[in-house]
Symmetry: C2
Subunit: 346 residues, 2 copies
């Protein structure tokens, strides 16, 4: 895994400067487009072009099951992971609707359902039949962690082959907010109760129980949680590790990334802890309603684009931010300048 | 003006209920699409259809000059109002770029520049050569107020003739945050300094001076500010009054409205004070960075869709919210249900 920590290049400083200068010349009070200005400027620097664009989006949804689901930490039974994978394949889920209207390339990868779904449109990169229950055992082996990280990088390779302008990762896995909350608590050395939330819709008492299970698991694994990779391996989630692998590889390949909600942000946090250079390549699409997201976003110094009280996952928040980023690009590329429009600047 | 206060019908309660029920059946945890759910449900009730849609948007930009500009309350000279109208006509401004990509119908109405621009694409509904300087005089006459309100209603009539799914109003007028801040302070009986902000980019000292000018003007007109219409007339802005007239007429005609930033929200506040029934027909597109917007939004119990630190006006924030609302509609209309997808619900 040594290669994960090799230096990653920064976006292009010359294009960054030119894009900043252009924003000052467009027919609007300087700064009045707010976050849209920095989105366009950052994208220009990442893409190394004066006219940033976001027309060709690649969406990879990683699905996997979680041993910790046996503890009753989700409002939905484990069978729903595979059922939702079938729903993705049939085109009926939220992310399908959003992906169609964003004209994005969409794919689903099974990185470890309990049982495979045998559908031609689902990419089979199964790492195992779900993770172990991390209440008492490490969620995965070294080999499984490596395979999950590699599955993520492979998705980015497909995005690059399709000449994508940006990469979006998403996740599906019943009980994966439990895994993500445990990882976040371990990486941030934060109180479990401050991070653990309702997931798909737990009651107050159920959330307390979920937090207590995570607290106990962190005690069990405490001495082993010595590196971000060991945190991922013990508290796991094949799909979370795949996202971390994808984000690291995208940054290395200069492919801009839109990070979705809580679980994806935890995967991004793991990526940043593995290699801080990767953070320059990330956009944070939205602030989720899941309790721990705020803390994770703050740890990442992230300024999310949207805040719509969503808590769905499956990349839905990231795809919703696409039209906002597209508009930021078009404003940057198509607005006239003060000089062209003969406007008095004071 | 008596007709402005006649009762306005509410959106359709039966369609509202049906849309709520459908949201509970879609393949996602209930409530997990957050604000998108209520956007779709409200729009279904307004449009009286099970499949709400927002494909056909009508954008009207009202432009006018302000006598108060003589007090040096803007970072830009008054000539910029007309120069920006020419920029709108030439297609180079931010709202042009956004309108093109939203495939919206776009029009500009001169409701009172100092001098008309004589461009065929600019609708001439001039109420006067700019308002009077409200530091000492009422901004407009009764006849001018009526003409401005009527110009707004006429824009909504054009939107209805084009079978628009929603109406967006925008504004251009150097010094119009001064007018809007004065109106907001008067309607909300709020401290001027709590509302007055940087507009197009004033320094701290310039903002203090602007607030002092507004405070003095409110003292001059105090005894005359007895109704929302008299507030509009004295503290003016032909374009602000036109927006108020448009919003009231749209609500009466059951046409959903997307409210832009600070100035449009002040026009909406005036509309709600004139006739509280109209509020059911409004969506608030974004929270602007202009200081007073937060207070005005709170007074309207508004939950804005976007918060991007924008402060441009010209309807730009409202048009940016269109793709989010379109996605909300498509999710509502196109997602599959739990039953259709055979998904276990617990």
């Amino acid at each position: 895994m040594e290669s994960l920590s090799l230096p990653i290049a920064a976006p292009d400083a010359a294009f960054h400067q030119r894009a900043l200068a252009r924003q000052m010349q467009l027919t609007k009070p300087p700064g009045s487009l707010g976050l849209l200005e920095s989105l366009a400027v950052r994208l220009a620097a990442m893409q190394g072009r004066d006219d940033p664009q976001l027309d060709n989006i690649h969406i990879s949804i990683f699905a996997a099951d979680h041993g910790i689901a046996a503890e009753g930490v989700s409002a939905f039974p484990q069978a729903v992971t595979a059922e939702m994978v079938r729903n993705f394949a049939a085109g009926g889920a939220a992310v399908n609707v959003l992906a169609r209207h964003a004209k994005a390339h969409f794919e689903v990868i099974d990185v470890g359902l309990v049982r495979g779904v045998d559908l031609p449109s689902v990419i089979d990169q199964r790492v195992g039949p779900g993770t172990e229950n991390f209440k008492s055992k490490p969620a995965m082996t070294q080999q499984q962690l490596q395979a999950a990280l590699t599955a993520g990088a492979a998705a980015v390779q497909r995005a690059l082959a399709n000449h994508a302008d940006a990469f979006i990762g998403g996740e599906m896995g019943i009980a994966n907010t439990t895994s993500a909350s445990a990882i976040a608590a371990a990486l941030l050395d934060e109180q479990v109760t401050a991070i653990t939330g309702a997931g798909t819709g737990l009651s107050h008492d159920q959330i307390s129980r979920k937090a207590e299970i995570i607290r106990q698991a962190l005690q069990v694994h405490q001495s082993a949680l010595t590196t971000p990779l060991e945190v991922l391996r013990h508290l796991g989630g094949f799909e979370i590790a795949a996202l971390t692998g994808a984000y690291l590889h995208a940054a290395r390949k200069r492919l801009p990334v839109l990070i979705d909600g809580f679980i994806c942000s935890v995967a991004a946090l793991a990526a940043v802890r593995i290699n801080p250079d990767c953070r320059n390549w990330f956009f944070y699409a939205h602030r989720s309603d899941e309790k721990g997201h705020k803390i994770v976003l703050e740890a990442l110094s992230a300024e999310p684009i949207l805040d719509l009280r969503m808590r769905l996952g499956e990349a839905s928040g990231a795809v919703l931010a696409v039209p906002i980023m597209q508009m930021a690009c078009r404003l940057h590329n198509e607005m006239t300048t003060f000089t062209q429009a003969n406007i008095t600047t004071g």
